[in-house]
């Protein structure tokens, strides 16, 4: 029963990937390439590229992709549902607990300790994306001259507009996409 297999595989991926999309990658590979003959390694690499280029969580993107390849649209739906069910159960339980006990001094102490750490983790992820945009890799390269000028210009303009005019980020991103097409067409780079 292919639908049940898809559901179960992606349920496990959803349950054991803690800490975001990159944590899910090895689990997905194990389930869909090694355990089941659903994707070849090349197809898996392709879906990871597409997942990064398109919106949405990597686990959801690959669930949809694998589901379609294996069993069409119904397969995509089943795999995606399997992927989010563990989150629904666990996070809703945590949300209930959070609102039930939020006002305890102890819980408030724990939460106030967490908040600066959360800012730090977002800052770190943001820095990775920034380096990815500027240098095409997540770490600062040895040779800083490999920096791409166009993304730096787009970044600076977008940051200025956000700070100065408090624009909706979605418009900023549309603008950045349009600027990307325009600038890369006018000043082609060997990539």
């Amino acid at each position: 029963m292919i639908y049940l297999e898809l559901l179960w595989s992606f349920f496990q991926i959803g349950l054991f990937s803690i800490g975001g999309g990159y944590a899910a990658m090895p689990l997905i590979e194990h389930q869909v390439v090694e355990l089941h003959p659903w994707l070849t390694m090349t197809q898996f690499a392709d879906i990871m590229t597409i997942a990064e280029m398109t919106p949405g969580p990597i686990a959801i993107n690959s669930a949809t992709f694998v589901g379609i390849q294996v069993a069409g649209i119904p397969g995509a739906l089943v795999a995606t549902v399997g992927c989010v069910v563990p989150s629904c159960i666990i996070v809703m339980t945590l949300a209930y607990v959070y609102y039930r006990f939020k006002n305890l001094t102890m819980v408030q102490g724990v939460l106030s300790g967490l908040r600066p750490a959360v800012v730090a983790t977002i800052a770190s992820a943001g820095l990775s994306l920034l380096l990815m945009a500027f240098f095409g890799q997540k770490e600062l390269p040895q040779d800083l001259s490999t920096v791409q000028v166009i993304p730096v210009v787009i970044f600076a303009a977008a940051f200025f507009v956000l700070r100065r005019f408090k624009v909706n980020p979605i418009w900023v991103m549309c603008g950045a996409g349009a600027a990307g097409i325009l600038l890369f067409s006018v000043f082609p780079v060997a990539a």
Binding site: M53, P55, T80, S87, M92, T105, G109, P169, A176, G177
Partner: protein, 192 residues
């Protein structure tokens, strides 16, 4: 009644829209959600949003899905959470379904990759903007400990590749001990 229906509709459309623009991994949706639900709609306060982020990061599954469950639950209970989950998974479901039909052509399209390169720079700017605002708030507490926790966590995540869940656990303990000690020192009217 009509107002209620309106709330559900706004909730659904907001998560749908946010999810459709979450390029570059789950962290990106947090700043976008904060802009929408904290600043624009005022449904969630700043502190709650940070707590949601911590819970979303330390729970299994995609961060974007977890965060939208929390937002939906906060605004409209379990039905709200189910609604926001649908809103969050629908855009990737539709987009990937379409792309998987002709994915080789999509992958090699020059225009697509130009737009993606531009959008990546845009996303980085959005996150920097939010980190600036949130980081400033931590400094404004005028206490040493939160700033130290923030800088140490950044170093741990960035340079030492420490697991985020471990950092969240440790910082939770630090926060608990800190509030316990302060409560002892300043009597019981202390509130962290």
């Amino acid at each position: 009644m009509a107002q209620n229906r309106n709330k559900y509709l706004t909730l659904f459309l907001a998560t749908l829209q946010l999810s459709a623009f979450t390029f570059g991994g789950g962290f990106v949706i947090i700043p976008l959600m904060r802009k929408k639900f904290v600043e624009k709609l005022g449904w969630i306060d700043e502190q709650e949003m940070l707590d949601f982020t911590a819970i979303a990061q330390s729970s299994p599954g995609a961060i974007a899905v977890n965060a939208s469950i929390l937002v939906g639950y906060r605004v409209a209970g379990v039905p709200g959470a189910l609604l926001t989950v649908c809103g969050t998974i629908l855009p990737p479901l539709v987009i990937i379904s379409v792309i998987s039909l002709f994915y080789a052509a999509f992958r090699d399209n020059a225009i697509v990759s130009m737009a993606m390169a531009g959008m990546l720079a845009g996303v980085a700017a959005v996150i920097c903007d939010v980190v600036y605002t949130m980081g400033k708030a931590v400094f404004k507490l005028h206490r040493v400990l939160p700033v130290v926790v923030m800088l140490a966590s950044f170093a741990a995540v960035r340079f030492l590749n420490v697991n985020i869940i471990l950092i969240i656990l440790v910082c939770g303990v630090v926060g608990a001990v800190d509030s316990f000690l302060r409560g002892k020192k300043q009597g019981k009217e202390e509130k962290a």
